[in-house]
Symmetry: C3
Subunit: 351 residues, 3 copies
């Protein structure tokens, strides 16, 4: 209700892995400062409600699923999937205004997505094309991390991979090339695209320890979804293509895909969901497990740095940043969010 | 000093079990935001002082009892039971204004009671008629819990037993009858009386597992004292009496008494004291221990719900409740507190 | 940046024991609310910088020493010892304004000292004459404690030894004489001097358990440095000297020295550094270890009292103290700090 950083409400936010939502078991998450309770009814219906009883504000996530409905387990008010109160025990009349907010919710690509904006505008076509466990081409692992830091600092991190050379020198074995060269950055309607060759890389992406040219291409999409395909090619490929994008995966010697989602919980907390794994033609469960081990180490490095950065910012009366040329993508994404947020505000005022 | 929820100061607050006050050992508790130190001198005198040295604000509860007096163990100022400084080591003259606040304090029904209001109005007749360990008729156990929640949420909880059906479905084995019927609610001068039959109950109140009609009657008294006698009668009794109050305990097959006290410590913390046990004619130490096991489980259920409710309220910019018909007693108690608080303010202004 | 209690900036603050600064390893400490990173380069150069990258405010203390320079390990900005940015990876031009604050820093008497004020005024002659491990005359032990309390409360504690009689009755075996008599208190240009005889003392200062006359003399100097020599003489010496200062150490039967430093970190945290030990002519490593055991106990007693005092003060809407005659030194020191702070403000305005 009081999430003050610029943000887009008319967007799908990742609330959970679908695997973590047990049937008929309420699940709580705060998104943009709003308490949300999710549940999947026994019949399989997915529901997302305001996690705050209209009566005395107890969390409905301590409640009990009853068919498609959810009962507050403090004084027994029963809620419909649309948020309306269906029953107040011992009271004949239920006031018409007795309801909590209901959120559009859906599952796709192994994630539960909640629409935090105007329900009228909820559009499943806006769900970013992540790759989930139902995709036959990729062998994925998954994880998540809770941050004691605002989502914006994680967006910044993911829109500037120059940090790989320093934060992830050990885990990813990233060389200084990641900091000394710049990706091609392209604005998208709902995000920013990053593409680059980093030639002559050893390290973990190459299974056999041979040196390869690494091609990476990712979109960073509102409200904080990173979708990246990394492909490695024989050394020399980048030069041969004049540093241009490879036309397809043919000739690639390694291909992986990672889907990542940053969900702003409160002003200073966020949840980070991620999957990663090799294309089936370029790896197996063993490589997947190796990659997940690397990811665990690397994402802990990010968390250490970003939470420390947050503590410094929080302790600084008037924090000011000094962008560098590596910040082009960061700035594009921030401006896009501000623009979309302004448009939402305008539409809301007009309505 | 800055307890902002409406509250009655001219009332006796439970500060401790008398059993927990060791002789000549200072004991600290914050009540209504004010730090209070209690001690029982070696001669048996009970003293309650402001727990904050007049010199440099060290807590006197880290001090040393010397006869009836208490010495601050930072720089040695010695305090009389009335709060006056008796001695400043190394200084001949003690300023007349050198004193801390002294509170009327007494012990009764196994509790230490502190009067938080105008000492001139302290009236022992206002101590609620709790039942303590000195009562020959009841076999009691006792306990206490610290809440990360404001006292008001606990008052609300105890003035609306419809929650028994949901919060305590397991522990007390309470059926939905508790939520689907309403007690008779009667305003008292310093509280609210709740009376009801809940017929045909099994569960824990009936020792032998037979079904009984449960009669309960309790007063909820400022500043947060619950005194309840529960009695069970052969099934059919309630109907035979036209749902009217039983004239006496004759014919009862089970009788228990519970005394409970909610002490507001700070804006968001409270201490909850309770005893419970059977009437000597209707139980023994074994039943007392069974009841205390049930209470431990049930009161932990309340604490889980109420602390979660507090967290939601604290995170909600403008929290608003929607009362139901079960809230009649809650509302009566809240209005009584507001009325008494207003009267106090008027009297204080007039004086 | 927002340390609001009156304080002197043009002073040397103890940031660390020199023994705790590993070569080429950044070390973080907050002083007066400002994050500071210290490092000693491999060539031995000592550097103190603002611990906050000019780019995105990551702490430089998570960085990497490279020769005399420090690299931010988030996006690789490289800093000179004077705070200027030497390099932004992948960017040709480094803006002239790209710099962090650099602090005068030096090491002396086993401490690392940081000058928090105007660098132009940094004057090593203002470093208080503590006794470090390089002093051949004393056999020292050392320790440090982090306080959840403001530095001012520790200054107050150290400027009034009347607390020894109560806080340290056990550890130091201090009698009530410490509270019932007053030291001679003399204002100094940058502090306050305390001198006194406490005759006929047993306790720990006297190695052999005999009764002695204890002479102690200490200076308490801005920004919170206590330097004390304690000497014990045969009983009767104090009287023979008419309670005047002993002319020298001749005839002393025990001599120790303690250096202590209170560094204000944030509004409510402080770090306390201390060393203590006997003069070589009056003790050995065994006595040093005994003294350090006593100090560990005594300084834990202070910490318990002062942190409790801080909690009371923090919970009191308008805290007011009532000074006693024991507070003469406390008041002198407080007024000196206020005077020096005012002078600094005046000079800063004039400039």
């Amino acid at each position: 209700m009081s999430y003050s950083a610029p943000h887009v409400r008319n967007a799908w936010y990742v609330a959970s892995w679908e695997q973590d939502l047990e049937p008929a078991t309420p699940f709580a998450i705060t998104i943009l400062g709003e308490p949300v309770v999710l549940y999947r009814s026994e019949s399989g219906r997915l529901v997302a409600l305001e996690d705050r009883c209209v009566h005395r504000l107890a969390p409905l996530s301590l409640g009990r699923c009853e068919g498609d409905r959810l009962r507050c387990m403090y004084h027994g008010l029963l809620f419909e999937p649309d948020g309306k109160v269906a029953e107040i025990p011992g009271q004949d009349l239920v006031p018409a205004k007795a309801r909590v907010k209901s959120y559009p919710v859906t599952e796709k690509h192994s994630w539960i997505w909640v629409w935090m904006g105007d329900p009228e505008r909820a559009d499943e076509a806006l769900i970013p094309p992540a790759i989930g466990f139902d995709d036959p081409d990729y062998i994925l692992g998954r994880g998540q991390l809770d941050y004691e830091a605002c989502a914006e600092l994680i967006h910044d991190n993911l829109c500037d991979f120059s940090h790989l050379s320093y934060v992830h020198a050990n885990s990813f074995g990233a060389t200084e090339d990641w900091a000394r060269t710049r990706p091609r950055v392209t604005p998208l309607e709902r995000g920013v695209r990053f593409e680059r060759w980093v030639p002559s890389q050893g390290g973990l992406r190459s299974r056999k320890g041979v040196t390869v040219d690494a091609w990476s291409s990712y979109d960073y999409l509102v409200p904080g979804i990173l979708l990246m395909r990394g492909a490695s090619y024989p050394e020399g490929t980048a030069k041969k293509l004049g540093m241009g994008a490879p036309p397809d995966l043919e000739g690639a010697v390694g291909v992986t895909f990672t889907s990542q989602a940053v969900t702003a919980m409160t002003e200073k907390t966020a949840r980070y969901f991620f999957s990663w794994g090799p294309h089936r033609d370029h790896g197996d469960e063993e490589l997947r497990d190796t990659l997940m081990g690397v990811a665990a180490m690397a994402f802990a490095e990010d968390k250490t740095m970003i939470e420390a950065q947050q503590r410094v910012i929080s302790a600084t009366p008037e924090p000011r940043v000094m962008p560098t040329s590596a910040d082009k993508g960061v700035t594009l994404y921030q401006r896009l969010v501000e623009k979309l947020a302004r448009e939402e505000a305008r539409k809301a005022e007009a309505a």
